[in-house]
């Protein structure tokens, strides 16, 4: 089986995610790829069985069977929730967000059941994708590159990491310690101290400086996690900002947001 360069890039990028699973929106084979191109590539890979995907219903309207059902005078053979969904779309196309069903997490399941029974017509969108077993086997044993292609070393790195995983682990959930370390926590600590000295921030370093220095190689989340580990070990303290007027919006947003209280903005080495 031959695959195109863009498909290869797609797959290799998927390898960078934990469990080789990611929301479709986060896949971008190259900076130039448009989202329609990406979606097309995705369905091609799906068709070949190299990846699997989950779909979610983004809008729905009532089907004739559904209309008929609503006209029935006898006791209806649907649950109360399903009836609510049917009534909601009786006159117009609606989105799941407009549907008042609790718990919200059950909405998709209810709608799928109604679609399956032909009572509504639904429009779906790919939600999450993951590498199928077939895809894993293909990348591990079958694929042999030919011709020329412009693949970044970063993508090559993901491939090598994948290949170096013992097969028994089945490729899922690469262990944290098996990822070649970008910086150890101790090194992050050193970077904090060096930056603080350099900028004269008196051991009260705004996080945006650290992000500028360490992202990349770190992703935002990876750096947050490293900081949390250092906090847990009492190596650093994270502190919030009261008066944000002296900083730009971007700088303020570089803090670690908290859903309660102000975002963590400064780091202090203990």
């Amino acid at each position: 089986m031959e695959i195109a360069t863009i498909e290869l890039k797609f797959l290799l990028q998927l390898l960078s995610f934990s469990g080789y699973r990611a929301p479709l929106s986060q896949i971008r084979p190259s900076a130039k790829t448009s989202s329609s191109e990406r979606n097309k590539t995705c369905s091609q890979l799906c068709d070949r069985g190299l990846i699997d995907c989950s779909q979610k219903i983004v809008s729905f309207k009532i089907a004739p069977a559904g209309k008929a059902l609503l006209k029935l005078k006898t006791e209806l053979p649907v649950s109360e929730q399903e009836l609510k969904a049917l009534k909601a779309c009786e006159d117009q196309k609606v989105t799941p967000e407009q549907l008042k069903i609790r718990p919200a997490a059950e909405k998709q399941a209810i709608l799928r059941k109604l679609t399956d029974r032909g009572l509504i017509q639904a429009e779906t969108k790919i939600d999450e994708i993951w590498l199928s077993d077939r895809g894993k086997a293909y990348l591990r044993t079958e694929y042999s590159p030919k011709g020329s292609g412009n693949i970044s070393l970063g993508l090559l790195n993901y491939y090598l990491r994948f290949l170096r995983q013992p097969e028994s682990s089945n490729g899922s959930f690469p262990q944290a310690d098996s990822i070649p370390a970008k910086f150890s926590d101790a090194e992050v600590l050193q970077v904090i101290q060096a930056l603080d000295r350099e900028l004269g921030s008196q051991n009260y370093l705004p996080l945006f400086h650290l992000r500028q220095k360490l992202q990349p190689p770190f992703s935002r989340d990876e750096l947050d996690q490293a900081l949390y580990r250092l906090q847990r070990q009492d190596q650093i303290e994270l502190s919030s900002l009261q008066d944000a007027t002296r900083y730009t919006i971007e700088q303020v947003e570089a803090g670690i947001p908290q859903d309660i209280g102000g975002s963590l903005f400064f780091v202090t080495v203990v």
Binding site: K100, R102, P103, A104, Q202, Y204, Q225, L227, Y228, R229, L230, Q231, R232, E237, L238, S239, S240, L241, Q242, D243, R246, Q258, D259, I260, G261, G262, F265, F266
Partner: protein, 674 residues
């Protein structure tokens, strides 16, 4: 007995947000049962150690206590007061509105705190202090009470032969403190009120404490005498809303000048505690001279708490509910779990207020079910509850307008003007160096500038000076319309100030003299207190910490200020805000101490019931009734029940449960139509 889930559903959320807003420890009751001792234990120990040093060698010291918003600074101050009050006199100093009057501000709050009674004591700190002086103990209390003023002053002067400023008057006024009739007037003089001639005569003093210098020296007198008894702890808190310098930064230098003077001028026996948000200090420290910074003897950080401590905070709040439950829940944090903490705080640390808020949210969703909890909370309703709670406190605390200084009243009014977006506001309006800070002006849209001056000093001399300044302002055409706000007397025909006032504010002029009611001032003071809390990051409404912009939005959107007659008379409420309120009028009416007679007006109570329900979504009927009775003391349980019935008939709320026993009934909000 009842199962825990039923108890939780029926009870007020034990993490009720209104408890997150701390403030002046003399006016907020702390429940020691809710304290987790291990939290900030080292801070308490350190401050206690410094206090012991002061008690030993009488040398004044300064502690700076810093921590993030929500770390518990104000709460720790309250705890320190509770624990250490037997060893010291505690003074809470509100944010100062004017740097030029900071000493008078400190003196005013010092005396106001000293007249408070510590828990479990029959007498104020001030009387306790007075009676513990050895000069009084000689020969027993009876002898000095009966002896005349002269003897009393002589005896004290003999004990303190030097170092007391204006000793005759100061000791004389201390003597008046013992006389219950003169006690209030003596306190007024000590706190620096500008008294009228009659009162001064009664106290046998020539002048009020009018200048910064005099205020500083009277404060020194207190310190001097405190050497013999207990140290005085001055707590400066909520510094994010103090006076600002011309470039808009908070004027910390003014505070540090005071601190350094206390040290330099050998004011003895003070422990100064400066409580400040870490980032505020870090960002402003470079504006404070190094020579003043070194006056900080000890810096104590308020560190984040561990998740174990966060759990302990939860346990303390849930304990009263668990006690009622049968069977007892397995975990003392039920229905909260450690996992949630681990998940929310991967770094293993948080702040007490965050832990409380997390607890509140989880309990809330437990009460109403996760799906309903996803709906956005009714923030305006929650805000109105926070307001009402604060308003009640302010009503208890401020019993006369004159308790507040002119710069404070002016500042409070300015803050509401800013919130109401009346137009560009300029501080310091009157062309007088002394009284400029008792005034400001603003520029309404498409209209001429409006000047406002507020002063409640009883002294008629002060009134005359202010009237002269008002006249100059009018002559110089500084404004199109001038308001004088003053509830205090204006003297008699023939007094110079009286005559001037009559001319300037005559009926055929655009200018007006308004007499504010205490009720109006309560509105301003409540808002001011919330502004202080907002600057300190200490006010939480529906899960969000409000900054000043958010607070201004809420105050506009809730239309709470519409009942403030003073604002109405000043014409700054938009027409839809205005609701007719009786009882306060312009100068035509008599002195307006009289609040409107209380008519059990059901509307605020119904509002309260609905706000309570919007905030909690589901409540036991009994709890709802009791909470309401606690809030509105004039109303009986039966009346509340009747109101609930009415609201239920209007379909504004629903009562669940067929059982006629109200204890088993639940009240909840009807589902909004989709």
């Amino acid at each position: 007995m009842t199962a825990i889930d039923q108890i939780i559903r029926q009870a007020i959320n034990p993490f009720d947000p209104a408890t997150f807003k701390p403030g002046n420890f003399w006016h907020e009751e702390q429940d020691p049962a809710l304290d987790v001792e291990s939290i900030h234990q080292e801070v308490i120990r350190e401050v206690e150690a410094v206090l012991e040093q002061v008690a030993r060698d009488h040398r004044t010291r300064t502690v700076m206590m810093f921590g993030d918003s929500g770390a518990g600074k104000t709460h720790v101050l309250g705890r320190l007061k509770r624990i250490l009050n037997p060893k010291a006199f505690f003074v809470y100093i509100d944010p100062f509105p004017e740097s030029e009057a900071i000493w008078r501000h400190v003196l005013r709050y010092t005396v106001d705190s000293l007249v408070q009674k510590p828990e479990g004591e029959a007498e104020s700190q001030l009387l306790r202090w007075l009676k513990s002086l050895s000069a009084f103990k000689q020969g027993g209390i009876v002898s000095w009470v009966l002896s005349d003023r002269q003897r009393f002053v002589r005896s004290l002067k003999a004990s303190y032969p030097s170092g007391i400023y204006n000793a005759n008057e100061f000791f004389g006024v201390l003597y008046d403190l013992i006389d219950p009739d003169r006690y209030p007037l003596a306190c007024e003089w000590l706190r620096g009120d500008n008294l009228d001639d009659e009162s001064l005569k009664l106290l046998n003093v020539k002048h009020s404490i009018e200048t910064e210098d005099a205020a500083q020296k009277v404060l020194a007198n207190f310190g001097r005498i405190a050497a013999e008894t207990q140290p005085i702890v001055l707590c400066f808190d909520q510094l994010d809303n103090i006076a600002r310098t011309s470039d808009g930064a908070i004027d910390l230098q003014a505070l540090f000048n005071v601190n350094s003077s206390i040290h330099n001028q050998l004011l003895k026996n003070f422990l100064v505690i400066i409580s400040i948000i870490t980032s505020t200090w870090r960002q402003n420290a470079d504006r404070v001279q190094l020579a003043d910074q070194v006056r900080i003897d000890t810096s104590v950080p308020l560190k984040p708490i561990s998740l174990d401590q966060a759990e302990a905070v939860w346990v303390s709040r849930l304990r009263p509910l668990h006690r009622q439950a049968d069977p007892r829940p397995d975990s003392p944090t039920f229905p909260l779990t450690r996992q949630v903490l681990e998940q929310k705080y991967p770094g293993g640390k948080t702040y007490p207020r965050n832990a409380l808020e997390l607890g509140r949210r989880i309990i809330q969703s437990y009460k109403v079910g996760p799906s309903k909890a996803e709906q956005p909370e009714d923030a305006i309703a929650a805000f109105k509850l926070v307001w009402l709670k604060e308003f009640n406190r302010v009503q208890e605390r401020i019993i006369r307008i004159r308790q507040l200084s002119a710069p404070e009243l002016t500042q409070m009014l300015k803050e509401t003007f800013a919130a109401l977006q009346v137009g560009e506001i300029c501080p310091r309006f009157l062309p007088s160096p002394t009284y400029a800070s008792h005034s400001f002006s603003y520029q309404p849209n498409n209209q001429g500038r409006v000047g406002i001056s507020w002063n409640e000093d009883p002294s008629l001399t002060t009134l005359f000076h202010i009237m002269s300044a008002c006249r100059r302002a009018v002559e110089l055409n500084l404004c199109e319309k001038l308001f004088l706000i003053r509830a205090e007397g204006i003297g008699k025909p023939g007094n110079r100030g009286y005559e001037l006032r009559d001319q300037i504010f005559a009926e055929n002029t655009p200018h007006q003299h308004l007499k504010p009611s205490l009720h109006s001032v309560h509105y301003l003071a409540t808002y001011h207190s919330l502004v202080n809390a907002a600057y300190a990051g200490e006010i939480v409404v529906a899960g969000k910490t409000l900054d000043i912009q958010a607070l201004e939005f809420f105050i506009r959107d809730s239309h709470i200020l519409q009942n403030c007659t003073l604002l109405k008379n000043l014409g700054v409420l938009s027409s839809k805000e205005i609701v007719e309120v009786e009882g306060e009028e312009a100068i035509a009416s008599q002195p307006d101490d009289s609040e409107p007679e209380f008519q059990p007006d059901n509307e605020p109570i119904q509002d309260f019931l609905l706000d309570l329900l919007k905030t909690h979504q589901l409540l036991g009927r009994q709890v709802m009734v009791q909470t309401t009775v606690g809030q509105f003391t004039e109303i009986s349980e039966d009346q509340v029940n009747e109101l609930i019935q009415q609201l239920s008939e209007d379909n504004q709320l629903q009562v669940l449960g067929d059982n006629p026993n109200p204890q088993e009934q639940l009240v909840y909000l009807p589902d909004q139509p989709a």
